[in-house]
Subunit: 226 residues, 2 copies
DNA sequence: TTAGAGAATGAACCGCAGTTCATTCTTGGC
DNA sequence: GCCAAGAATGAACTGCGGTTCATTCTCTAA
């Protein structure tokens, strides 16, 4: 049987008592474009649901339900299920990179820059808990399609830290006998693990204070008396 | 149609030219028990296949094929697909903990103990690359059933490091004004990230040298001149 | 009021993959 | 050689879930 020959029976629509909050706040909203309100609602719903159940245990139908739309509607806004997740992750990383880039214009000291990165990274938990969970679970591979593109963002993060470290070494602020790569990975890993642990245990912390502690350890080590 | 009423047609088995390497090296092998050779082959195959494709993109049939057994055979040795992965991860963690525990009997200095943990952790890449990949991808959640039990192993790791740090603080070797928890997470995170990066980029390193570098940074920091 | 264009819907399609189990193969004792 | 008893097999079962698309709804312009 070819599809499209014998479909639809549909026992008369129940009745249109759906909420329908499309008050159309703007005259010319971009319809199904990225600016649309429904577009954002689907993204948020996807992040929430996937954070709770994991990508492969989150049917599109569950995401649609959370967003208050029909299953098929999601495909008006996104190419596929993958695309929804990819878009959400991309947006988060881009926001992070932009925030750091902007701040670096006025914050010039290597030590201060490292501390700022640590702080923003640690703050992500409070900014959007679901997204933080998602980052700790789905981004670290498990699905090949995520692996490839998110790896790129991670590399960019490491690059930024490396450059700061290298500059600090050139300025004589940091030791020159340690690899900037190792330092960058150590710093990223330390912060990420702290965040991860907080996410999974539900522990809360102050991002500024914790960032200061991490950078303190990174800069001075844990050996007694200097 | 009830199952079991009209099954099997089977066009005569092709011919029994299967390898059949069951030379039965031991007189009384425990059949389908955990000691069996086939049991181990299934575990190894599962780790390999899942490392390559991810858990949810690894059909049981693919694992069976890699192990050289029929799909159904896996269910003679394991309760479910989950069970295979769980068993493999458990075994790896248990081996790690045992190795550390044993070495600690003769290696008593806090600094040396931290370095040893770092080294073993970093060595895991060389010991079993597939398992290292699996640890970096599947263990960090994405599937709820893995989350729960693997979290337990991670907590145990952190506990061990915390105790070493605390002892170092009591002995006056380490600073007492930094949280042992933060230090433990920093150390674990740093090493894990280094390993992760190596796993995904294919970069190789010497575990002993790298471990020494990480511990050096952790102990002395990256600030110039002491 | 009404036509029609586009947004939204959700049932149906379809393929996949975890698990089962009737059947076949293998082994070891007689 | 023969016959249980257990190991192994793999086709079939089953349910799930991503995606499609015929149909319905909504909204604007004439």
């Amino acid at each position: 049987m070819r599809p499209g020959l014998k479909r639809r029976v549909k026992t008369a629509r129940p009745d249109s008592t759906k909420s329908r909050e499309s008050g159309s706040t703007k005259g010319a909203a971009p319809a199904t474009g990225p600016g649309s309100e429904k577009y954002q609602r689907i993204l948020d719903a996807a992040v929430e649901v996937i954070a709770e159940n994991g990508y492969f245990s989150s049917p599109v139908s569950a995401i649609a339900k959370r967003a208050g739309v029909a299953d098929g509607t999601i495909y008006l806004y996104f190419k596929s299920k993958d695309d929804v997740l990819r878009t959400a992750i991309d947006a988060t990383f881009n926001k992070f990179h932009k925030q750091v880039e902007d701040e670096f214009k006025t914050l010039q000291g290597p030590r201060e820059q490292l501390e700022y990165i640590a702080q923003v990274h640690l703050e992500s938990h409070a900014v959007n808990r679901s997204m933080a969970i998602l980052m700790q679970t789905e981004v670290r591979q498990s699905a090949k399609f995520i692996a490839e593109f998110s790896h790129h963002h991670l590399v960019k993060y490491i690059q930024v830290v490396r450059e700061v470290v290298r500059r600090g070494q050139q300025e004589g602020i940091f030791r020159g006998d340690v690899s900037d790569g190792v330092v960058a990975h150590c710093m990223f890993g330390a912060i990420d693990e702290l965040l991860s642990s907080a996410v999974f245990t539900g522990r809360v912390y102050d991002a500024k204070t914790t960032a200061a502690q991490v950078i303190d350890v990174l800069l001075h080590g844990i050996t007694a008396e200097s």
